[in-house]
Symmetry: C2
Subunit: 412 residues, 2 copies
C-alpha cells in the first residue's frame, strides 16, 4: 500500500502531441501481463537522458548512451519489464541491439534511433525472441492516450502505477507535461532512477535538454532513497516534441523559468511516488538539510539519515529515537562538523518541534510530542548544520517487516 499516493485516472494523463504509446503481452517473465511498452516519437523530437553510474550498468543503458550521443534523432523507446538485461555480458549487448534493430525495421527508422530499456531481475538472459515477437502488437496498439497503460506496463515490484500530468500556459500557448516512473526497491539513484520518462510538447533543442535533464534529475530522482542500493538500470529520459508551438532556445527565451520549474516539479512528484510506493513503506520521510557549506555535504547528511536501518526501523515503530538521527548526522562524513551548532526539528501536519540543539536533546523537547509526530504518515526531519547557506531535501521511507519479506521473496 503506497503512502498517500493514488495513480491518476487515464483521462487525467494528457497526451503529448508527437508521442504515441503501445503495449503488448510478450511473456518476458510472467504470463498475462502487458510487459512490453513502445513509445513512438514523431520526427523532430529532442530527447536527452541521464543514466545510472553503476559500473555493472545494464546493456540497454550502454546502448542508450551511445544512441543519444550519436545525434541520430530518437524515434522510439522500447521498454520491457521482468528481466533487467544487466550482468549479462556480451550476449546482453547483442540482444539489446537485436531489440533496437527489430523496432527500427517495423517503424522504418535506423536502429540507433531507438532507445532500449529493461527492468526486472539482474543476471537473467533476456528472452529476446519473445520480446521481438511482441513488437508488432505494440505497434498496432499505438495511441497518444496510452500513458496510463504505459505506467502500468513498466512496473516490477511496484504496487501502483506512477504518473503525473500537467498543463500550463506559456506565452499564451497551452504546454503539456506528462511523465511516468517505476521503482520500489534498489532505489538510490545516482544520476536518475529506474525508470522515469517525462515528455513535453514544448520545443527545446537537445543541447539545452541535455543540460536540463541533469538539473531536473538532480532536484528530483537524485534526491530519493529506499535502501541505498543504486540500480544497474536507472534511466531518466526527457522528451520535448515541440508540437505545442512554444519554442525555447536558451535561458533568455520567454517562459524559460516557468517551464523549467514545471519540469522539476513533475519529476519530483514522479520521484516521490516511488518513495510512497517503496517496498514495505508505511511512512514518507522528508529530510530537509539546511545551513551546509555545500549542497553535497547536505546530501551526505540527508542520505546518512535516509539510509540508516536504525533510523528507518525507528520510524516504522513511530519511536522518536532521536539519538539514532544524531548518530547518523555524526557519521555522515563532515569531519569538521561542530555538533554544538547543529539543530534538529521533527515536523508533521504543519507542526514542527525542536528536538536537539547544542550537542544534545533540546531542553524544551517533550517525548510525548515526539511520539505524536512520529505517528504521522508524512514526517519531516529538518536539520540546520549551522555552517553555511547550502541546503537540500532527501526523500526516504521507513523500514518494515514487509521490506524484508518482499526482498526475501522477490525471485521466487
Amino acid at each position: 500500500m503506497p503512502v498517500n499516493y493514488v495513480t491518476p485516472a487515464p483521462q487525467a494523463l494528457y497526451p503529448v502531441a508527437g508521442i504515441r504509446l503501445g503495449l503488448a503481452e510478450a511473456g518476458i517473465r510472467k504470463a498475462n501481463r502487458r510487459d512490453l511498452t513502445l513509445l513512438a516519437l514523431d520526427p523532430g523530437c529532442s530527447v536527452a537522458g541521464v543514466f545510472t553510474q553503476n559500473r555493472f550498468c545494464a546493456a540497454p543503458v550502454q546502448l542508450c548512451r551511445s544512441h543519444l550521443e550519436s545525434g541520430s534523432g530518437i524515434r522510439a523507446l522500447v521498454i520491457n519489464t521482468g528481466v533487467a538485461n544487466a550482468g549479462t555480458g556480451e550476449l546482453g549487448l547483442q540482444v539489446a541491439q537485436q531489440t533496437c534493430a527489430a523496432v527500427a525495421k517495423l517503424l522504418g527508422v535506423e536502429a540507433n534511433q531507438v532507445l532500449p530499456f529493461s527492468t526486472g531481475v539482474i543476471l537473467e538472459p533476456l528472452p529476446v525472441d519473445r520480446l521481438i515477437a511482441g513488437l508488432p502488437r505494440c505497434i498496432e496498439d499505438l495511441q497518444a492516450d496510452h500513458w496510463h497503460a504505459a505506467a502500468h506496463g513498466i512496473m516490477t515490484t511496484d504496487t501502483v502505477a506512477k504518473a503525473v500530468s500537467r498543463k500550463l500556459e506559456i506565452n499564451g500557448t497551452r504546454v503539456t507535461l506528462t511523465g511516468i516512473s517505476k521503482g520500489a526497491g534498489m532505489i538510490k539513484p545516482n544520476m536518475a532512477t529506474l525508470l522515469g520518462f517525462l515528455a513535453t510538447d514544448a520545443g527545446i533543442p537537445e543541447s539545452l535538454l541535455k543540460q536540463w535533464v541533469r538539473e531536473v534529475a538532480d532536484e528530483s530522482f537524485n534526491c530519493i532513497t529506499v535502501d541505498g542500493d543504486t540500480s544497474t538500470n536507472d534511466s531518466f529520459i526527457l522528451i520535448a516534441t515541440g508540437q505545442s508551438g512554444v519554442e525555447f532556445v536558451d535561458a533568455l527565451s520567454p517562459g524559460y523559468t516557468v517551464l523549467r520549474e514545471a519540469l522539476i516539479s513533475v519529476a519530483l512528484e514522479l520521484a516521490q511516488a516511488i518513495i510512497r510506493d517503496a517496498e514495505g513503506a508505511t511512512k514518507f520521510i522528508t529530510i530537509a538539510v539546511e545551513g551546509g557549506l555545500t549542497r553535497d555535504e547536505c546530501k551526505q547528511v540527508g542520505y546518512a539519515i535516509g539510509h540508516s536501518p536504525l533510523v528507518k526501523t525507528a520510524f516504522f515503530a513511530s519511536d522518536p529515537n532521536l539519538g539514532r538521527i544524531l548518530a547518523a548526522i555524526g557519521y555522515a562524513g563532515i569531519m569538521d562538523l561542530d555538533v554544538e551548532n547543529v539543530q534538529v526539528w521533527l515536523g508533521a501536519g504543519g507542526e514542527e518541534i525542536l528536538v536537539a540543539e547544542k550537542g544534545g536533546r533540546a531542553a524544551s523537547y517533550r517525548e510525548e510530542e515526539g511520539v505524536r509526530i512520529m505517528l504521522s504518515s508524512e514526517i519531516t526531519v529538518r536539520i540546520d548544520l549551522g555552517r553555511g547557506k547550502a541546503n537540500c531535501k532527501i526523500y526516504s521511507c521507513d523500514f518494515s517487516y514487509e521490506y524484508v519479506k518482499i526482498n526475501a521473496d522477490y525471485r521466487s
Copy 2:
C-alpha cells in the same frame, strides 16, 4: 541466537597479571543486572585506544581521548551499560568527569588516570548518582578472574557475552592475551567498535601500543558491519601490563611478529563474535575482496556488499540472487572498474564455485549449486577485481525480520 558462537567458560578466560575486574548492580537503566564494570590496572601498564569518528561522539569518548593524550598512566577503566551518555552536551561531559573523579578517589589515583565508557541508549541523561553509588561494590568485587562476568556486564542488545583468551610462548615465556567485546547493532566501526578491550601481560611501551592499536583495529573491528551505522561510542582499548616479563621495544624485539599476529587474531575473533551475534542474524558472511589497486577500494566494495539491504535479505532467504551482489560491486564507487575483469565466487564448507565473470553469469554456474551454498550458515563471497594486488576481508551478516523487530522495539 548467535551464528556458531558460544561464550567460553569462565575458566577458559585466563587472567592477565596486573588487571583485576569488579562488577556491581548500579540500576543504570534496568534492575537486577550487573551493569557497572570496573577494571583496575596495576601501575606501569601501557594503554592505547582508538575511538569512533562519529562527530556526535559520546562524552566518555571525549574524556578517553584527552586522558590518554595526557600521558597520565592509566589505572582504571569504568564501563556502564544502559545509557550511552552520547548526544548529552555539556551535562554529559560533566557526569563523565564526575564518574572518573569518583573512581579515582576510591582507588587513590588521579581522575585523568581513569578511562570512562558508556553504552546503551543515546540522548538519555546518565544517572551518575546511581553509577557512583555502585562503585564501592565494584571495588569489593575486584578479582583477576572476573573476565567472564565483565563480558556479560558490558552487554546491551547482545544475546551472548563475547570473550577470547589465548596463551602463547614468546622467547620461552608464557604470554597471555584476553579480550572482551560487545555490540550487536549500530555496527560499522570507523576506528574501533563499541566496545572492545584486549589485554596482554606482555610489556609494550605506549608509543608502540598506539601504533598497534590502530593496526589491530584496522584488521579486525574496522572490518565488520551489521547495518552501516557508525556508533557514537565505539572504543577499542589495548592494555599491556608487562607482568609476564616479556618486553617489546620495537619491531626488532624478538617475538614481535608472533605477538602482533596473536593480538590481531584475538581482536578479529572478538570482532567476528559481534557479527555472529548481530541483531537478527542467521548467517555469518565473509566478503573477501582481492585484486584491488588499494586496500581502501577493496573495503569500499566489501562494505557496499555488506551494507546492501538487498544482498542481506537475499542471504536471509538463502536465495543466490547474484545480480544484487554485482549491482553492489558496480555502485561501490570505483568509477574506472572494468566489469569484464571482475570474478565472483560463492563458497561454504570448503567448497567454492565461480558464479560471475566477464560482466555476467559464469557459463559453468548452476543455480542449484548456488542454492546449496546459500543454505549454509557461514558463507564466503570472494571477489577478484582484476586490477591490482590489494585485498581485504569484511565480515557481515544477513538481514532478517528479527532485525526489524529488535530495532522497532529497542527502547520500549
